[in-house]
Symmetry: C2
Amino acid sequence: MQLKLKTDYGLRVLLYLARQAQGAADWRAVDPVSSETVAQAFAISKEHIVKVVQALARHGWVTTRAGRGGGLQLAADPDTIDVGDVVTALEGRDGVLDCVAEPGVCVLEPGCRLRRLLIEAESAFYDTLTGTSVGALASVRGRRGGLLNLDLN
Amino acid sequence: MQLKLKTDYGLRVLLYLARQAQGAADWRAVDPVSSETVAQAFAISKEHIVKVVQALARHGWVTTRAGRGGGLQLAADPDTIDVGDVVTALEGRDGVLDCVAEPGVCVLEPGCRLRRLLIEAESAFYDTLTGTSVGALASVRGRRGGLLNLDLN
């Protein structure tokens, strides 16, 4: 059972921006970062980052500005971005097996209870993610509560 | 988030055999069925069925007999085959993202809490499946408790 690469990259971008914001007084005060910089940090192609950023922007989590001094920024407080929402949005709810997404594909279906059980299990997965924010996940605090300075670039 | 085709096919084979067993006095009393018959019922290639049957046999859930009158049979009471065990065995626990399976692949890792949250979510998924048997899933009972006669072939 694996999540899509798109979800992987989307979470990384948000966590990257959230961690940057931790070093600032306010998440709005962080300078834009280029997709290239983010791509290099994760050793992922820039095209993948650009594509997932478009999806994140559509959901109101990031914003992009073209031109000099432009780049990628958070468009929402990372403490309010729910990880369950992010994974649901990027992953889509296609169903963990074909029979979940497309009833009628399997000869066993009349009476088969697998479909309902899988829907329950998938919900349990998402329920575990819901209620945790991107900000909380990214939070890097040292043993004495001090913020660690990680060089993300 | 999707399960592997192998898991899909493995569940279908077990559910097929379990449903056959419901029509019999005892699951041991069911005649062997050929991989070809099962493959045709699901409109899946026989090669896929043969491959997943090998995996199911390794786990002691089915048995195969070659030759005339041979074929595929349950090797355990379907009411004792746990769906969580089947999905775990066929799916493997690779981790829903690379960082779960291979710590160290991501620059965010020191302090990132995503990995732990994903492991929790995956466990919640499997916990939902655990405790339900293949026999219970396959059970086809009509509104008045009568067993429906489905022609699986």
